[in-house]
């Protein structure tokens, strides 16, 4: 525990020593209640570095729903803000304690509580992570034979928060965003009351099979960023893992054509379980350093084959053979052929963004599987693109695996030089993606950022994910300021393109509400006043103008009041 001198310095709310003692009693051990400055600092900022750090006054790690409920009762009585926290990895500052208060950190509530393989659901606590889930899916795990929609997020992030935040994941093209997997919730309200939502409320928690056919109150807690209640249990659908799986990487010659037309055609085929794509640094694809002599030799060889037949020949050879004839180093050949316009490889310099798409095809029987692959191949043959099986692709395999084998373990293209990472993610009409990407690229380039973009068709291509990722040097004030500017400008592009940013940080929320029909905001604010009349849950997030009962003025990113525009 930190001494009282430090505590006084950061005091903002009604937290007294007595309240801290009460918290210790609730969780049963003082080691799970902490006021040390170095612990509180950890919750005061995240990798986005978009907000001047603000300190919570105390952090607590409960072990059960009942403890969470008692904490809420205490906080509500003294009107102390409470911020629920899983790993703080939302990349939007959504767990920052703008008004001080209590952080509830869920590291101790990390259990996989229920498994029902027949009915294909699990129930987990907020601290249960994607890494934990992945381990259960792996050989020998309790959930072997199933799968789930994994985000591109690191393994230590929470499955529960991802579902509540409308997370986008690997199975997005089939099932939409992660809230579609939620079957039921257990929620602790600001008052400390515990509420069950979904069929689990009817059958005493035995079958968390779905939220239908009941009034769908799950929605109150989805995308509301911990402002409506604290979810202590979540039921989630599992998806069966088919017997056969194959991954392909597609490098379209024209990214624009890909986005405007043929990714939608690909979706129409209905053979892909996963379609993800994005712009990454081209150096990934150039991967292996070309050996000049080899290039020359290949050049001579190239002269022997008629233009246009190379792509066919390469396909016929297949990658293993190609690798063998190129001494395990097919890249110089590919590059050379592309440079002579003999291969449909995108023409981008090493420092430019390159579009790579990863797709997954599965099948329960060999015949279905083969038929799907055949349809996919027939389709891609007509397109100008390099289609490869990453597994057979030497050093590239590692890169593709980190794209396809989720959760991601921060692959090289996030290149955290300087530790700063922020983004604007959005859901956008697919008709507007290509233009949105082009506009966003322009802004990022102008502000000196490499334009990394993640894109995904969602829910059978009904809409698209478009996420601009901005990695910056957090020790450089100018870069921090530029990153802020980029976030705001790109958010405007998204809104102009008919999309809506997701997991929005408060300054982006402000922009959204400015555009939104006022009735929408007012309705949410009324609900908030009902479920959290003292406005203690995660203040400053989402409802940045407050509610009728608890008006709020959003602070500037840099810590001044009065908004950020």
């Amino acid at each position: 525990m930190q001494d009282s001198k430090n505590l006084k310095e950061i005091k903002k709310t009604n937290i007294t020593k007595k309240i801290i003692e009460d918290l210790e009693k609730i969780v049963g051990d003082s080691q799970w209640v902490n006021t040390d400055i170095e612990i509180l600092m950890n919750y005061s900022m995240d990798m986005t570095e978009q907000v001047a750090p603000t300190l919570a006054e105390v952090a607590v790690m409960p072990d059960s729903t009942s403890e969470v409920s008692q904490i809420m009762k205490l906080a509500n009585r003294f009107k102390i803000p409470v911020i629920p926290y899983a790993a703080g990895a939302n990349v939007g500052g959504l767990t920052l304690p703008h008004e001080g208060g209590i952080i509830i950190d869920f590291k101790r509530m990390r259990r996989l509580l229920q498994i029902d393989k027949e009915n294909k659901f699990i129930v987990v606590e907020p601290g249960f992570t994607f890494g934990d889930l992945k381990r259960e899916f792996m050989s020998g795990g309790r959930l072997e034979g199933f799968r789930y929609s994994f985000p591109f997020a690191p393994p230590y992030t929470s499955v529960l928060t991802n579902a509540l935040l409308n997370g986008l994941g690997s199975l997005g093209v089939k099932y939409g965003c992660a809230n579609n997997f939620i079957t039921g919730l257990e929620v602790v309200l600001a008052s400390g009351e515990i509420v069950q939502i979904g069929q689990n409320a009817i059958n005493k928690g035995k079958y968390w099979i779905s939220r239908e056919p009941l009034p769908d109150l799950v929605g109150i807690f989805v995308a509301t960023q911990g402002t409506m209640g604290i979810v202590t249990k979540i039921g989630l659908h599992l998806i069966r893992q088919p017997k056969y799986t194959i991954n392909y990487a597609i490098l379209p010659k024209s990214a624009d054509d890909f986005l405007r037309s043929w990714v939608h055609e690909l979706d129409k085929l209905n053979v892909c379980d996963e379609i993800g794509c994005g712009y990454f640094p081209a150096k990934i694809a150039h991967g292996i350093i070309p050996d000049d002599d080899l290039i020359e030799l290949m050049g001579k060889l190239a002269g022997l084959v008629r233009k246009g037949n190379w792509a066919k020949l390469l396909r016929l050879l297949g990658w293993p053979l190609l690798k063998a004839v190129t001494f395990n180093n097919p890249f110089p050949l590919i590059k050379f052929l592309a440079s002579k316009n003999l291969l449909p490889l995108p023409e981008v310099g090493e420092d430019e963004p390159l579009m790579i798409s990863g797709i997954t095809i599965t099948g329960e029987t060999k015949n279905i599987f083969k038929a799907k692959i055949k349809a996919f191949k027939k389709f891609t043959r007509k397109q100008e693109a390099l289609v490869i099986r990453p597994k057979e692709f030497g050093e590239l395999a590692g890169v593709f695996n980190s794209i396809l084998d989720l959760p991601a373990q921060l692959p090289a293209f996030y290149d955290l030089r300087g530790g700063g990472l922020t983004w604007v993610g959005s859901y956008i009409p697919h008709t507007n993606v290509a233009d949105g990407v082009a506009k966003g690229h322009k802004i990022l380039k102008k502000l000196g950022f490499f334009p990394v973009v993640v894109l995904r068709p969602m829910k059978q291509d009904h809409y698209f994910v478009m996420r601009f990722i901005i990695a910056f040097n957090s020790s450089d004030q100018k870069e921090i300021a530029n990153a802020r500017k980029a976030v705001e400008k790109v958010a405007d592009v998204v809104l102009e393109s008919g999309g809506t940013p997701y997991k929005m940080a408060p300054p982006i929320a402000k922009r959204i509400w400015k555009k939104a029909d006022p009735s929408f905001y007012d309705f949410i604010a009324k609900i908030k006043d009902c479920v959290d009349p003292n406005g203690i849950l995660n203040p400053g997030k989402l409802l940045v103008n407050g509610t009728p009962k608890n008006p709020y003025k959003l602070k500037d990113l840099t810590g001044n009041t009065g908004g950020n525009e």
Partner: protein
């Protein structure tokens, strides 16, 4: 080294949290985090503390010191981190430790090390002569090809291992000597932020090695090995030119010339597992265990992750006919730490034991899933062996483990067992 020496890297952690898991295996990697759960116990947490301190956001305190020293410096997080910061995190942790000591924040047991080492040249507070009690005079020669650097733990806390090593070296016909004047290698001070206080030890021991005229120094302690082999060169410019890799997988360069350096720069420092691996082949020695046994191998952090010696102990095990090596899921650079290192055993006794219990549980789980009995857990470090043995006893007392499996012994002891039963 203080924070200013690592300032370049303080902004390189993006808090992605990936270092808390074994890469792609999704098993826990950080003992300190699994136990204490608060972020500052993790790699990223400590990097961010360093950054905040360097930027003057708050000041050092005893509570920060407690968190910084609860880390075993096992280095597992640095392997799992896929970012550049992974290569510099251990330096940052060490710099934080040094800053704590400079500012007067310490763990009392670590200060005691220093007092003991300064007065008696060993961290245990034992009289120097006790090291050699019961050791035949014939082992102390004026010079020899090979110098066996015994180390404080083996000579003062594990005489059984000590005599086993002597016996094995005799059996193998090695021309070696011990040195009465051997002092602590300095590892307990180096890992607890007291680098400055360890300098006189490094200089003394290097002098000693020069005087003996040995061409090869062998040690059976992973801590002594890392210190002589990697840290004398990198921190003091002594015993340079070792054929080894540091945590960055780069060869450590000779850092500075010293008087002693002239005589010692071409001396090889080897861990006994490396030496045995060479000599068993060279002398074409065949060792066969009369009955089939299963063993598993625990990689000491100082030997494996810190220097890169993973394969030699395994190769020796494979040379022992009838001995079957069964790997734990977390092995080599993913190995779960034994919990004893970097002053954790002396500073946080119970929790050091808990980490070792988890290591044994990993092997117990393996017995269960593969439906086998693992006779021995093999270690190549007396300090790991000690902590793992304590944990084994604790698990037997708790009724979790039966007395007939997972006996913790050193690789040398296993070989001697095999020899005895031949």
């Amino acid at each position: 080294m203080g924070l200013k020496d690592v300032k370049e890297w303080l902004h390189y952690c993006g808090r992605c949290n990936s270092c808390k898991y074994i890469y792609r295996v999704y098993e826990p990697s950080c003992p300190a985090f699994e136990k204490f759960k608060w972020e500052p116990y993790t790699s990223s947490g400590k990097v961010w503390i360093a950054r905040d301190l360097f930027e003057g956001k708050y000041e050092l305190s005893q509570s920060i010191c407690d968190k910084v020293f609860a880390c075993t410096l096992c280095g597992n997080c640095t392997i799992q981190c896929q970012q550049e910061i992974g290569d510099h995190a251990l330096d940052i942790f060490e710099a934080l430790r040094e800053e704590c000591i400079e500012a007067g924040y310490t763990i009392p047991a670590h200060l005691k090390f220093r007092e003991n080492v300064e007065e008696l040249q060993n961290p245990y507070g034992e009289k120097h002569d006790k090291r050699w009690e019961g050791i035949d005079d014939k082992y102390f020669k004026d010079s020899a090809e090979v110098y066996f650097f015994v180390g404080c733990t083996t000579s003062l806390r594990n005489k059984t291992l000590f005599s086993n090593i002597l016996k094995l070296l005799d059996y193998l016909g090695v021309d070696f000597t011990l040195a009465r004047d051997e002092w602590c290698c300095g590892s307990p001070l180096l890992t607890t932020g007291q680098k400055k206080s360890a300098k006189f030890l490094a200089e003394h021991n290097t002098d000693l090695i020069a005087k003996l005229g040995a061409k090869t120094v062998i040690t059976a302690c992973a801590g002594c090995f890392r210190t002589l082999h990697s840290q004398y060169p990198s921190k003091y410019g002594l015993l340079t030119n070792q054929n080894h890799f540091n945590a960055n997988k780069e060869i450590v360069e000779k850092t500075k010339d010293t008087e002693n350096e002239k005589d010692t720069k071409n001396i090889r420092v080897l861990h006994i597992s490396q030496y045995l691996n060479e000599i068993i082949d060279k002398k074409n020695i065949k060792i066969k265990h009369p009955k089939e046994i299963n063993v598993t191998y625990h990689d000491p952090c100082h030997l494996g992750r810190h220097v890169g010696v993973f394969e030699e102990p395994r190769e020796v095990l494979k040379k022992l006919k009838g001995v079957h090596l069964i790997e734990m899921p977390r092995n080599r650079d993913n190995a779960w730490c034994c919990g004893a290192g970097a002053g954790v055993k002396s500073g946080f006794k119970d929790w050091a034991l808990e980490i070792s219990e988890d290591r044994l549980r990993e092997a117990m789980q393996l017995q269960k899933t593969q439906d086998i009995n693992i006779d021995y857990m093999i270690s190549t470090c007396p300090f790991c062996e000690r902590n793992l043995s304590d944990a084994r006893k604790s698990l037997i007392d708790k009724g979790e483990l039966s007395d007939s499996s997972l006996k913790v012994i050193d690789l040398v002891e296993l070989i001697n067992l095999v020899l005895k039963q031949k």
